[in-house]
């Protein structure tokens, strides 16, 4: 039988390793083939765009970390649905508006803010705001506001491709739809995993560790993106 400190170390190690792995594998967001496809195909490409959107979300560790933080302490389906809807509303607005109106935002800065959203949620889950400010800022509003930034993040990824104007609205809607499908798929797995875990006594034991690691991953994202901003 392992002592709890041993298990904590193993858990920490696993999380760090998996973080590193995903950094290397997914750091570039959209792969080369997708890039060629997007640049060589004009007109409405409904299903390909759904697929690209879904893939981006499922493999987008920054979005997933934030969502995992958001639903960490939510156990009622109604709450989960409500919070996820706030997030969806937020990122859909800026994704559609950003690409459609061609609003240029620096991708590094946006991704650093997305990192900040992860730190925020981890800190909030630890009761950090309650402790330091004496109150926790409205969590629904926070999810909505950070959702807006996540949407800009998604928009900057699409803008890199300089999509042809032809059929852009339909393609964007398809991409957004794909993002929601991908988010739904990823959330199902996260919610299931956390729900099972919550029944186990290690959940309370590790909820502090988990949210500390969540914060740490957020700090890594910030450092990673800000370094990119200052060196490019």
């Amino acid at each position: 039988m392992l002592s709890s400190s041993h298990r904590a170390i193993i858990l920490l190690f696993t999380v760090v390793i998996s973080c590193l792995f995903s950094f290397e594998v997914l750091a570039h967001g959209v792969d080369e083939k997708t890039r060629y496809f997007l640049q060589n195909n004009t007109g409405v490409q409904f299903f390909p765009f759904i697929y690209i959107g879904a893939k981006h979300m499922v493999t987008g560790y920054d979005h997933l970390l934030f969502l995992a933080g958001v639903i960490f302490f939510l156990y009622k389906s109604r709450d989960i649905l409500l919070y996820v809807s706030m997030f969806t509303l937020g990122h859909s607005v800026t994704l559609l508006l950003g690409v459609w109106q061609d609003i240029q935002v620096n991708a590094y800065l946006i991704d650093a803010i997305i990192g900040l959203s992860v730190v925020y949620k981890g800190f909030d889950n630890l009761g950090g705001f309650q402790r330091t400010l004496g109150f926790s800022p409205n969590p629904k509003a926070a999810v909505l506001i950070f959702g807006l930034f996540h949407g800009f993040g998604l928009a900057t990824k699409l803008q890199e491709f300089q999509l042809p104007q032809e059929g852009i609205v339909a393609n964007l809607i398809a991409f957004n739809l794909g993002v929601e499908l991908g988010q739904f798929a990823a959330l199902t797995v996260i919610v299931l995993a956390i729900s099972f875990w919550r029944k186990h006594h290690t959940f309370t034991l590790f909820s502090t560790t988990s949210n500390t690691l969540l914060m740490s991953a957020g700090f890594m994202l910030i450092g990673f993106q800000l370094t990119g901003y200052f060196t490019n």
């Binding site: 889950n125 630890l126 009761g127 500390t212 914060m215 740490s216 700090f219 450092g223 990673f224």
Partner: protein, 173 residues
């Protein structure tokens, strides 16, 4: 259910989060992503190679290459053949000389056109010798170099000196 941590634990958690992020960033992420490696850990683990990786040699960039000279040692293992190649643009001259420690090797000096997928190659010299000097001008842009075969029971070291406008691609076993 969610609870509020005591101030001390909260501070501890926050500090651990920042320190851990700092360590992972400085040791692994920054070296691998940007080739920024203040601790040297990234280079030791070979992570900086990820940041400095460039696409496969393009002959276009070779045309901007300047005249250079390289002295290269190629070890041909016993009973094996190896290739040593250079990327060279069209109509460029390479002057070379190579020698072994006395052991004769079968060799084939040849070029493969850039982008060719049929396996076509053109040989400029084929013989079994212990040394050779000469030069050739590339008839096409592509990958040019030597194939040496060692039929003896001992490894043979080839000392190769080349000069011209090229990019070293190195050993292919």
């Amino acid at each position: 259910m969610q609870h509020t941590l005591p101030s001390k634990t909260l501070l501890k958690s926050t500090i651990i989060a920042i320190v851990l992020a700092g360590i992972v960033l400085v040791s692994f992420i920054l070296p691998a992503e940007y080739n920024i490696d203040p601790t040297g850990v990234g280079a030791k683990l070979g992570l900086t190679a990820l940041a400095t990786a460039t696409p496969a040699v393009s002959i276009d960039t070779v045309t901007k290459q300047e005249q250079s000279t390289d002295i290269i040692e190629v070890i041909v293992p016993a009973g094996r053949g190896v290739e040593y190649k250079f990327a060279i643009a069209k109509f460029k001259k390479m002057t070379y000389s190579w020698k072994t420690n006395g052991e004769s090797l079968f060799f084939d000096l040849h070029g493969e056109p850039e982008g060719d997928t049929t396996g076509y190659y053109e040989s400029y010299a084929i013989a079994t010798l212990a040394k050779m000097e000469g030069s050739y001008t590339t008839p096409f842009a592509g990958v040019h170099g030597w194939y040496w075969k060692n039929t003896s029971n001992n490894p043979v070291v080839v000392q190769l000196t080349v000069s011209g406008e090229y990019q070293v691609m190195g050993l292919k076993q």
